[in-house]
């Protein structure tokens, strides 16, 4: 049985300004034990989908099952199986870290949970903060507490909604080591992130959303192999000629261009030379998930489905 099953999930927001179709018939399954990535630009519907899964929002169409239990009709069973790390950095200012975790545990009816709470604190680098008030913690520390809160009732399925947004390198390392260990021990993980290298490194399968629709669903390795070829990467000082800039991914001095073949690479470099620019640190690398992501998002959906999606 699928750990999570999204079945034709739709969500429409009606307001005075009009109707917003946040999700439009999204269907896919996440199998037991998967490390699954849900990607998409801002406003694609990722958080809405997770909110529906979590019971924070209600679908206007379709349904979501967690281990076969409907998240609306059997909400108590479904929520016990889910550990959700919300995207917003929220906290209850009245309590310290240990109180926060004990309370969260109690909501699930789990009492005398201090051994597991200690283990969570240890693994998330919070052991010396157990008696600190939530208000005193830095943003990164608050984020760790959010993760601990989500795991305090030992849920088999862990959902992380952009857990590393605005988080320092150290926490990202600690967090991913811990989550990867839980995944190896059998937990199912659903992750949304804007850091595509994280998704590429961690997720065995990936879904992409665009404007509320599922536009890609495949194994990470398959998606990478479908991306068109290589990427030319170099640094320049100065402005790239407009005909190149249109196709390029530019990050400060770094320019990356899709390079299907050697001829293309020669053309790029000569165009840059003609513009009177000095090229440094030239390298050719394999297309990564970010390239795939940009290609998927740029593609118009044809009538006959699209090549990024495995037929179901």
């Amino acid at each position: 049985m699928a750990a999570i099953s999204f079945q034709s999930v739709s969500k429409r927001y009606e307001s005075a300004r009009g109707t917003l179709q946040a999700l439009d018939g999204v269907s896919f399954d996440i199998e037991q034990g998967e490390f699954f990535g849900l990607l998409g630009p801002n406003g694609a519907g990722k958080t809405t989908l997770i909110s529906i899964l979590a019971g924070l929002a209600k679908a206007t169409g379709g349904r979501v099952l967690v281990d076969g239990h409907d998240v609306q009709a059997d909400y108590a069973i479904a929520r016990r199986r889910l550990g959700i790390v919300p995207q917003e950095l929220v906290f209850d200012p009245f309590f310290n870290v240990r109180e926060t975790l004990r309370i969260q545990s109690g909501y699930f009816g789990v009492k005398n949970n201090d051994a597991w709470i200690d283990e969570l604190l240890e693994n998330l680098g919070l052991a010396d903060k157990a008696t600190s008030g939530m208000r005193q913690l830095s943003g990164g520390m608050k984020r760790r507490v959010l993760v601990a809160q989500a795991l305090v009732h030992r849920p088999p399925i862990i959902v992380l909604d952009e857990p590393t947004a605005g988080v320092d390198v150290e926490l990202r390392q600690t967090l991913w080591q811990f989550i990867a260990r839980l995944n190896r021990e059998g937990h199912t993980v659903l992750l949304t992130t804007h850091y595509l290298e994280e998704a590429e490194a961690l997720c065995n399968r990936i879904a992409m959303l665009k404007k509320g629709k599922l536009v890609a669903l495949n194994r990470t390795s398959e998606l990478l192999s479908m991306a068109s070829g290589n990427v030319l990467r170099f640094k320049i000082d100065g402005e790239l000629p407009p005909e190149l800039a249109a196709q390029a991914r530019i990050t400060g001095r770094i320019v990356q261009l899709p390079a299907p073949g050697a001829l293309q690479i020669e053309q790029y470099l000569s165009a840059v030379r003609l513009a009177g620019l000095q090229v440094e640190d030239v390298e050719i690398r394999k297309a990564d998930l970010e390239d795939v992501f940009l290609q998927v998002m740029a593609a118009e959906q044809g009538a006959g489905g699209n090549r990024w999606q495995v037929p179901v």
Partner: protein, 256 residues
């Protein structure tokens, strides 16, 4: 509706801890306010007015002030807890759990009841020990109306907290509904001292019955029968509870 109430004790405990940690503000301050009312009104009117024939004004005032404190604080507890956690986003920690609507209802109303009663007992002890002796003609009514009023106001606070989206909407409730209705419910006077028109108007104020029934427990006398007050206050609590449970079940303004 689900009758599973697993976890309600934790939410109840958390809600009690929440106000207790800022007890100066949530328990101490309202006691001081009530004592100030007693001092000022007692001093200004104490020697000139008696009520029900023989009850001195300061003694008459004590149950009214106790009940006023119970009402305002029970309301403040659930309403401010919900609106704060909604605005700050920490309500999500409750919403993500299997806590049923009934469990949430019990916890929010129960903790409001504890705060209302704690403040009420505080006001009573200070006023009774230092300022005015009152009798206990029918202590059963004191307990019944104390608990019922706190529960009713905790439930109303829950509804107000769910309905409000911002702090100023909450303040609207507090300042334009709860405050005037308590003040006009006979905290400071027996409605028999009012002109007939305003007496009749007072009978439409549900808060009046809470204070009147409560006062009956002390003096054995009241403006209306305590049984009538019990029926009205009890009926109001059942009705508001049904509304609150309905709002929690549908996720009104908390699950979108």
């Amino acid at each position: 509706m689900s009758f599973d109430i697993t976890g309600w004790q934790t939410l109840f405990y958390k809600e009690v801890l929440r106000f207790w940690k800022v007890g100066f503000q949530t328990v101490g301050a309202p006691i001081l306010t009530a004592v100030l009312y007693l001092l000022i009104f007692g001093h200004a009117l104490g020697n000139h007015v008696t009520v029900y024939g023989s009850v001195p004004y300061t003694a008459f005032l004590v149950p009214g002030l106790v009940m006023m404190s119970v009402l305002q604080n029970a309301f403040a507890n659930s309403s401010s807890s919900i609106i704060q956690s909604k605005v700050m986003g920490s309500l999500v920690f409750v919403l993500l759990t299997p806590l049923s609507p009934l469990a949430m209802f019990l916890a929010y109303v129960g903790s409001s009841l504890v705060r209302g009663i704690a403040v009420g007992i505080g006001v009573f002890l200070v006023t009774f020990l230092f300022f005015a002796r009152v009798s206990f003609a029918a202590p059963g009514w004191i307990i019944v109306f104390g608990l019922l009023a706190a529960a009713l106001m905790g439930t109303l606070g829950l509804i107000a907290g769910l309905w409000s989206e911002k702090f100023d909407q909450m303040a609207l409730f507090q300042n334009f509904l709860v405050m005037p209705m308590t003040f006009l419910a006979g905290v400071f006077y027996s409605i028999h001292s009012l002109p007939p028109f305003w007496q009749a108007v007072s009978h439409f104020n549900p808060f009046f019955y809470m204070i009147d029934g409560f006062r009956h427990g002390f003096f054995g006398q009241s403006d209306v029968s305590p049984w009538l007050s019990l029926a009205i206050v009890g009926g109001a609590w059942i009705a508001t509870s049904a509304i609150a449970l309905r709002l929690l079940t549908t996720g009104y303004k908390i699950r979108h």
